[in-house]
Symmetry: C2
Subunit: 371 residues, 2 copies
Amino acid sequence: MDFKVINTDGKARRCSIGTKRGSIDTPAFMPVGTNGTVKAMSPDEMKDIGAEILLGNTYHLYLRPGTDVISKLGGLHKFMNWEKPILTDSGGFQVFSLSTLRKIEEKGVQFRSHIDGSPHFIGPKEAMKIQGLLGSDIAMTFDECIPYPSTYEYAVKSVELTTTWAKRCRELQNEGQALFGIVQGGMFKDLRHKSAEEILGIGFDGYAIGGVSVGETKEEMHEIIDYSAPLLPSGRPRYLMGIGDLGDMLRAVDAGFDMFDCVMPTRNARNGTLFTSAGRISIKREEFKYDDRPLDPDCSCYACRNFSRGYLRHLFLSREILSMRLNTYHNLCFYLDFFRKMRTAIEEGGFNQFKDRWQPVFDKSYPDNGS
Amino acid sequence: MDFKVINTDGKARRCSIGTKRGSIDTPAFMPVGTNGTVKAMSPDEMKDIGAEILLGNTYHLYLRPGTDVISKLGGLHKFMNWEKPILTDSGGFQVFSLSTLRKIEEKGVQFRSHIDGSPHFIGPKEAMKIQGLLGSDIAMTFDECIPYPSTYEYAVKSVELTTTWAKRCRELQNEGQALFGIVQGGMFKDLRHKSAEEILGIGFDGYAIGGVSVGETKEEMHEIIDYSAPLLPSGRPRYLMGIGDLGDMLRAVDAGFDMFDCVMPTRNARNGTLFTSAGRISIKREEFKYDDRPLDPDCSCYACRNFSRGYLRHLFLSREILSMRLNTYHNLCFYLDFFRKMRTAIEEGGFNQFKDRWQPVFDKSYPDNGS
């Protein structure tokens, strides 16, 4: 994996990550394809709207259809017909957030499937094996994502475990697959510092901050973001996991982060919440009933070029599949386009003005983490 | 509306219907866009796969979003971004099959919405007004579709009412909109004959057979199809309403019918039942788990060119939106392609061989009217 810092503007960075399946311009937003598909989108559409990398969820794919199926059908890229880079998470986050009856051991986690209750075990060894069979371009270390709030004592132990697991993952890194280490530590700055030191000590192709947006206040989140970014080396990609609020990402880019993933644009789309250059819109509102204007007059996506707000409202109220399609298409376009503009702003040394232009829009219109 | 018989082969006809929004080659299959969208498809995709005409449901669109909304947003074509011809049904069938608490009067039907129970009234006058505001290219007369079985006495009265309503619709025919009359009569041949005489006597741009596939046996259905086709004039389009089983349509084309509509390819797709040149497939079956072959090796649609049966099975079991999209795309492609082949066979005088080739496949593999 090749990494180049092309430009900086303040702490914001314009970088490029090279992989054998294509390069990724950063700051980059990675749409989430949980079950081997970005919900409601076709891979052709993902390419059309300019996605350069997708995220696949190890936990979900391991449970269904199963690693053996994807492996026998040629790996995740071929399975889902996506030729560009894929990053897989390690399954850690989902094991802790979705499964039931977890038991954490030195070697990993015993848990029951959220689909059928069947018993499973995933630790660093299993996570690396699964990600190897999926054949992603970037794998993540298996980590413990602690709940919010957690006691300091619990967080100390968890950081230790995460370091142990990270070492094991590094030893088992798959040939031809980049591996990113994950820094944990909850809301405790000294533990974030300790975790970063230990993870950096092991040495990875890139570094991520995990365990953010787990229920803490926006203020706590922003503090951890600002505190964590400089802990990570400037010569490697910095990935802030699971943060997808546009205002938060803008702050995180300003702090020096490069990569992001979140279900927010896709999940919100299916719930009828749409992102526009004038703010957030709930398409089901009565005011759009007879509205013949495009959703976002400043957007040139397929949905905005071809349909009225009145039609989009009708599709949503009728629970039509095309509603989820057009809403998702638009929201992802808006996100990817926003990142494109952000990259240009950094290239041109205008990131501060860009931030001043957009931060108030998002802080006003996007008050929470979506529905 | 312009109608030309280009070729005949036995009783099968290869015709062309000209409208101001484009011509329709027949035999034609009309995909159903109930709520102003063919479920799971975009209008661009409908164009790509070669659909020349869509069917819109007056009853559904009248209830939601409401005729006023579609009218204010520029009519149904503009509303759903479909420039080619649209045929609207009259709402009659749905008033009788979906609504509750119906009361049939001389002037129309009082009923309650299946969505929210609100009271409504649709008769010939209302049906013509709604279809005029929707702006479809072909409208249908408001008719009574009687249940199966019905008594002879009830069917006699219903045919009378349908004729009265048809006359009223003809008087109120909208400028620039073709109007088709509908022949009813249940399973009684003499009543079918009487209804045809009366409807033909009024004089319409085209003629339809309604009240078929309402619960009768296949034998009864085939008898009515064979009996009814020659009752309709050869100089006008003949439309067999609501029949979408491939074997049944093959028989009906053989009897001289030109136009068809049915939710079968789209509804079956969403239920995982897929049509292929080797017969019907249930994509959820265990046997496809590791199957890396395309769904139908003889099909060149987007789904068959890009994805394996194993992937389609996974999407279906995961209830992913892309499953409904790819399945629908394929089934509609298969249907439209089948009609293309049927038209070529008639043009080349090879319809009998075509029928011999395909009838056994459908009779074996498609034993019922779908799920």
